[in-house]
Symmetry: C2
Subunit: 336 residues, 2 copies
């Protein structure tokens, strides 16, 4: 496709900003010629990172901002007070239509609040969920919602299901994605009050391929394509996934380095193991979109490096090309 | 210690009953001479498993029952109707004082409901939580509650914390155990309504060493000794842990078996890797106690084999020796 996608990128967010963020932008524009990245941040610092690098100058635009929102700041207050922060300036580029998407590794809370207050919700969307992709034995699954809205209502979960299915089908190319509700048992009568009320709504919805409950145990095996849940449970599932993966891998690595014998063994399996673990590397899949906003807002991991930033930027192309926002509006706005 | 511990064991529960269950009982009585196991189940089937085995005959007692509760049955109804089921008969042995503990790999729901209806709660305990031990990089942690009480209230979480701390200190020997609340961020103002209300109660409680919030990401690393949570979130955390672990290990195994070269490598690291993975094997730690009941009720995994059954039975010795039930009553009953 030739249509150009404009991405506002928060150069000041995350543990490795601005170096890795700018590096990710350069990877993206050097690889795809239909992307323009608007690098939002401290003029001097961003310029220093660009200095001497090889890239198409017309597709990297510096947008200056003087403030940075710290992850520890209260989100609503930060968005209201820091009008010249990279997050607020970046989101305003989406609001004005100058950019199609905003990508940030900064404060999750500020991005979620700012996304709603500044970019704004698509008409009909009650709550925009954060929907990360998680690697599974069969590919990837979308976990929706993972942190935007704790204490959600059944009607929210139904919307999460619809938006998640659209995303998986049109961005990831999964035909007729299997939608399941996160539960503590497989039977319909299991669960907490929210799940019990949401289950029949999902079951009755003609827009999705609802397959029932999924236990957390079956997520990593690829038991569903879209997993619908309230944000607290989703966040627990997501972070448990990351934590267990990282501890297990680090312990396995240690055991492989424990003697000369194991070191030789490790050398022999290294190539094959790397291939396997790559499948489970969340950074391969870009960041988590905040679904249901006017324009795309993507939250990448706070510790994102250039590869994840690049992937998050490139993800915005498909989002625009596949008209995900319009599809969501068509499906969720009762007047559409 | 010379005091004899009587354990009622559900011979008919779980995927591998009665064979592996009976085998676990024999391991336990052959190893410890202060255990008597009351094997509850179908007379013929249990007798067939005992046939020809070597064990102290005076410490294996067959208790007949003719019914079995299926994991798919509605728990309350099943407990009420199936008076001669292995779960009901086993719990009645605890109620009557004939046994100190009941161990089952059967229907979680029926065990939880039956534990409360038959064995009964310790005075002062509002809700008895299910509290599995999960392996971490630093040892084990107790996740409380993992399935007994969805939609819990703040006062319940406070009791979970107190009971969990007693269990970790006196059964596991962890001095002054670090108690944390499962949350979606580290800051005090983060979380859903339940967490926000529970946090100050935990913080103000002089009986526990409260260390604040813990994110699911930090559980596997060993970030707290006792992790307090509502059962839905706890169940998600627990099952996510099990699912991610099992998928990762199976994928790593596959990659090690993918060529002759990797097979030789696998052979060289096998011993060391086994040692490491043993640490993360939940079956090493026995089953999950249901805390706050009169007598000990232990739920083992549905797929438990002899080793886990053995460990669950042996766990009952410490529970009795350390007077966990009395300690809980002293701490929770306002009149104690």
């Amino acid at each position: 496709m030739s249509e150009t996608v404009h991405v506002a990128l928060d150069a000041m967010g995350g543990d490795h900003s601005p170096g890795e963020i700018v590096a990710g932008a350069l990877l993206a524009v050097n690889e795809r010629d239909n992307i323009v990245v608007h690098l939002v941040g401290d003029h001097e610092k961003v310029a220093a990172e660009l200095q001497g690098k090889d890239y198409p100058a017309d597709r990297i635009i510096q947008v200056d901002s003087t403030e940075v929102i710290d992850p520890n700041e209260a989100p609503v207050m930060a968005i209201r007070k820091k009008k010249d922060s990279s997050i607020v300036v970046g989101l305003n580029l989406v609001k004005s239509g100058e950019c199609d998407a905003f990508v940030s590794a900064g404060s999750s809370g500020a991005i979620l609040v700012g996304g709603q207050l500044i970019a704004g919700r698509i008409k009909g969307v009650e709550r925009p969920p954060l929907a990360p992709l998680i690697p599974t034995a069969k590919g990837v699954s979308l976990l929706v919602d993972c942190g935007a809205n704790v204490d959600a209502r059944p009607s929210h979960l139904l919307q999460f299901a619809k938006m998640g299915a659209i995303y998986m089908e049109h961005v990831l190319g999964v035909k007729n994605p299997r939608v399941a509700i996160l539960n503590i048992g497989a039977e319909e009568e299991k669960g907490n009050a929210l799940v019990k009320e949401s289950y029949p709504l999902l079951k009755a919805c003609p827009d999705i391929n609802f397959t029932g409950s999924i236990e957390a145990r079956d997520i990593a095996a690829g038991g569903a394509d879209v997993i619908v849940c309230e944000a607290f449970a989703g966040n627990v599932a997501l972070k448990m996934y990351e934590g267990v993966g990282s501890v297990l891998l680090s312990e396995i690595k240690k055991s492989m380095m424990s003697s000369l014998k194991t070191k030789i063994g490790a050398l022999l399996i290294k190539g094959s193991l790397k291939q396997t673990l790559k499948k489970f590397d969340a950074t391969e899949y870009g960041g988590a979109p905040l679904l249901g906003l006017k324009g795309l807002v993507v939250k990448t991991h706070g510790n994102a490096k250039r590869k994840e930033v690049r992937n998050s930027i490139i993800q915005c192309i498909t989002f625009k090309e596949e008209r995900i926002g319009e599809r969501i509006r068509e499906r969720l706005d009762p007047e559409a």
